[in-house]
C-alpha cells in the first residue's frame, strides 16, 4: 500500500492546465474565462513574429478580460460561423515547467498540441503556451496567457477560430 504524498508544485500546475484543457475541449468557455484575473490577458502573436508585442506589433489576438468575455459570447453564439457547428478539439499538454517568480506568481511554460476536426477536415495547432499564474484560495488564476504557434502560417485552418 502506498501513501499519498502531497503533490509537487508542478503536479499542481499540471492539474490546473489539464482542467483548463478539458474546459476548452468541452466548450465550457464561460468557466474558462472565469479562470482569468480581472487584469488577465490572452495573446497570440502572428506566425511570422513569435516575439510580437501587441503594443507595437500586429498580433492575431490581444484580449483583455472584456474582449475575452466577448470572445466567449461570440463562440457560444450560433453566429460565429467558423465555429458553428462547433469543431471537435482534443488538447494535449506536456513539457510543463514551473518557476516561482515571487509575489505569489508562477511563470509556467508548456507544449501544446490541439487537434481540430470540422467539416471533413482535421489538422493540428502546435505551439507553446506560457502563463503567469497567480495563486488564490482555491488554486490558480491566469494573469497572462501567451500562446505561440509553431506553424509558419495558418495554412491548415485559415484562422485561429478556437481558443489556442
Amino acid at each position: 500500500m502506498t501513501t499519498a504524498s502531497k503533490p509537487t508544485l508542478r503536479e499542481q500546475v499540471e492539474d490546473f492546465l489539464f482542467r483548463e484543457a478539458a474546459l476548452l475541449d468541452d466548450w465550457r468557455l464561460d468557466e474558462w474565462v472565469d479562470l482569468f484575473t480581472e487584469d488577465g490577458r490572452y495573446v497570440v502573436p502572428t506566425t511570422d513574429l513569435p516575439d510580437g508585442d501587441p503594443k507595437r506589433d500586429l498580433v492575431f489576438i490581444d484580449d483583455d478580460i472584456t474582449r475575452l468575455r466577448a470572445r466567449a459570447v461570440r463562440l457560444n453564439s450560433r453566429h460565429a460561423h467558423r465555429e458553428y457547428p462547433w469543431s471537435r478539439t482534443r488538447r494535449f499538454v506536456s513539457n510543463v515547467r514551473v518557476q516561482e517568480s515571487g509575489n505569489g506568481e508562477l511563470a509556467v511554460s508548456s507544449n501544446v498540441l490541439v487537434y481540430r476536426f470540422r467539416a471533413g477536415e482535421g489538422a493540428p495547432y502546435v505551439g507553446s503556451i506560457d502563463y503567469i499564474l497567480r495563486r488564490n484560495d482555491t488554486g490558480f488564476q491566469i494573469k497572462y496567457r501567451r500562446a505561440v504557434l509553431d506553424l509558419e502560417s495558418l495554412s491548415w485552418h485559415g484562422a485561429v477560430s478556437i481558443i489556442f
Binding site: P54, F60, W156, G158
Partner: protein
C-alpha cells in the same frame, strides 16, 4: 462553355450572372495565370518593409519566387529568386539584412544590386564566361507609387500610374493621411482559404454581407458603445460604390464608429480627443474641408485589380492574395500606419485592427467560412450561376454590387484577351455628389 459566355451582363434589364466554372475550372485558372497575373501590375510590397540598405524581403508574386532589397545606394530592387547558375533559391529567409547573398548550392554570390560578385573556381569557365550577364534577373517591369511597389511580367504593359487609373486618387487619400509617410508594422497575417481568389475580391468589397455575416462583431462593438450610429438592417448608413477603371473598384461609406485618423470616438478615450482634433485641423488646412472630410470621416474598401485589397476602415489593412489552385489561395495581410503617430494612438489602431480584422479577430474567421462554404457549394454544378446584379439599375450604394461587377467585367475582358473594357453599369441618374445618407431597402 466558351469564355465569352461565362458572364451574363444585361445592363438594360439589370441582370449580372457569373458562371461558377470560373471559380472551379483548372483550365480557366491556368488562363488567369497567363492573361491576368502575367500581364497586370501585381503588388509586391511596401517601401517601409526594406527600410535600411541591405534589408530584403522574400515574396511569392504571381506564382514566382521573388525578393526585393534596398541596395547600398538606397534603391529598392526586385529580383527573381532563382540562381542564374542552376536555379536554387538565393534568398531562403523571409526577411533579413545582407550585403552579399550566396547561393548555398554552388556558392555563387551576389550583392544587393543583383551583380554576380563571386564564383568559386571561376577559372574553370572559358573566356566567354561573363559575370555581368549572370547577375540576378529582375522582373520585366518594376514600378512604385507612393511607397507601394508593384511588378509586371509583361514588358509591353502600360506604366503603373496609367494602370492605376481612378484608384490612384484613393491611394493618395490614404497616404496623405500621414505627414511623415506610411509604414507597415511588424507582424503579418498569413492564412489560407480553400476558396477561389475571386471570392475574396468580392468579399473584400461587400457591404451587403456585413450585418448578416458579422453580427457577433457588431454586437461586440455595440456592447462597447462604439457603434453609436443606431443602425439596423432596415436603417443603415450606406455610401457609394464606384468602378475606377481597369477593374479597380471601391466602396466608400460614412464612418460607423471611430477612425484613428481624425475621427474621434469615446472608445479612444478623452486623452485622444485633442491630438485627433489637431490632426483633423492639419488635414483641413492642407487639403480643404471636403477632402479632409473624406480622409477623416469616410471609410473605403479598395481593390487594385486583380489581387490587392486596401481597406481604410477602423484600421488600414493591405491584403494580397496568391491564387494557388481554383479552390486555394494564400492570403497575406499587413497593417499600414502613419509613421508619426504617437504610441498611444498606435495602440488604439492595433486594437481596432484586431477586433475586426485578421484571422484571430471577430469577423475574418467568418469570412473564411463563408468563402469556403461557397467553394464547396460550387460542387453542386447544376446550380450554374452566381448572381451579382444588386443595385444594377440605381446609383450604386456601398451595399450594392457594382464594385464586384466592375472587377468581373475587367476579368472577363482579360480572359478574352482584351485589355480595356467598360467596367461601369449603364448610366443611371446622378447621385448627390457628397455621400448621401440613404435608407437601404
Amino acid at each position: 462553355m466558351e469564355i465569352k459566355d461565362l458572364i451574363i451582363d444585361d445592363r438594360q434589364k439589370g441582370i449580372f450572372r457569373v458562371h461558377r466554372s470560373s471559380m472551379t475550372s483548372t483550365d480557366l485558372f491556368q488562363r488567369e495565370q497567363e492573361q491576368i497575373f502575367s500581364r497586370c501590375w501585381i503588388y509586391l510590397g511596401h517601401e517601409s518593409e526594406v527600410e535600411n540598405p541591405g534589408d530584403y524581403r522574400r515574396r511569392t508574386v504571381a506564382g514566382r519566387p521573388l525578393f526585393f532589397a534596398r541596395g547600398r545606394d538606397g534603391q529598392v530592387r526586385v529580383f527573381l529568386n532563382s540562381c542564374p547558375h542552376r536555379g536554387a533559391l538565393i534568398c531562403r529567409r523571409d526577411e533579413g539584412n545582407a550585403d552579399v547573398l550566396q547561393c548555398f548550392y554552388h556558392a555563387w554570390s551576389f550583392n544587393t544590386n543583383g551583380e554576380l560578385i563571386g564564383v568559386p573556381d571561376e577559372e574553370a569557365y572559358g573566356p566567354n564566361f561573363d559575370r555581368s550577364e549572370l547577375g540576378l534577373k529582375e522582373p520585366p517591369r518594376v514600378e512604385s507609387y507612393r511607397g507601394f511597389h508593384f511588378v509586371c511580367f509583361s514588358p509591353a504593359a502600360e506604366d503603373l500610374v496609367t494602370y492605376l487609373a481612378g484608384a490612384r486618387e484613393y491611394l493618395d487619400l490614404i497616404v496623405d493621411q500621414s505627414e511623415a509617410g506610411m509604414r507597415v508594422v511588424r507582424g503579418s497575417n498569413k492564412y489560407t482559404m480553400k476558396a477561389n481568389w475571386k471570392l475574396l475580391v468580392e468579399n473584400s468589397l461587400d457591404g451587403y454581407h456585413l450585418v448578416p455575416t458579422h453580427q457577433t462583431y457588431l454586437d461586440y462593438i455595440t456592447s462597447l458603445g462604439a457603434d453609436d450610429s443606431g443602425q439596423t438592417v432596415a436603417n443603415r448608413i450606406v455610401g457609394k460604390a464606384k468602378a475606377l477603371g481597369n477593374g479597380h473598384c471601391v466602396i466608400e461609406s460614412p464612418v460607423r464608429s471611430g477612425r484613428p485618423i481624425a475621427h474621434w470616438h469615446p472608445l479612444f478615450g478623452e486623452e485622444a480627443k485633442e491630438p485627433i482634433a489637431e490632426v483633423r485641423q492639419r488635414l483641413v488646412d492642407k487639403f480643404g474641408e471636403e477632402r479632409a472630410f473624406r480622409m477623416a470621416d469616410t471609410s473605403r474598401n479598395l481593390i487594385i485589380y486583380p489581387n490587392l485589397v486596401i481597406n481604410d476602415i477602423m484600421a488600414i489593412t493591405v491584403r494580397h492574395f496568391e491564387p494557388i489552385a481554383p479552390d486555394d489561395m494564400e492570403v497575406t495581410a499587413w497593417h499600414l500606419v502613419p509613421r508619426e503617430e504617437p504610441a498611444a494612438m498606435l495602440e488604439t489602431r492595433l486594437d481596432s485592427f484586431l477586433t475586426f480584422l485578421g484571422p484571430g479577430g471577430f469577423a475574418t474567421p467568418d469570412d473564411v467560412e463563408a468563402l469556403e462554404s461557397c467553394q464547396i457549394g460550387f460542387r453542386a454544378t447544376e446550380t450554374e450561376w452566381s448572381d451579382i446584379s444588386r443595385g444594377m439599375l440605381r446609383p450604386a450604394r456601398s451595399t450594392d454590387e457594382l464594385q464586384m461587377r466592375g472587377f468581373w467585367r475587367q476579368w472577363h475582358a482579360n480572359m478574352q484577351g482584351l485589355s480595356k473594357t467598360n467596367v461601369q453599369d449603364a448610366p443611371v441618374e446622378e447621385m448627390e455628389p457628397e455621400l448621401a445618407l440613404a435608407t437601404d431597402d
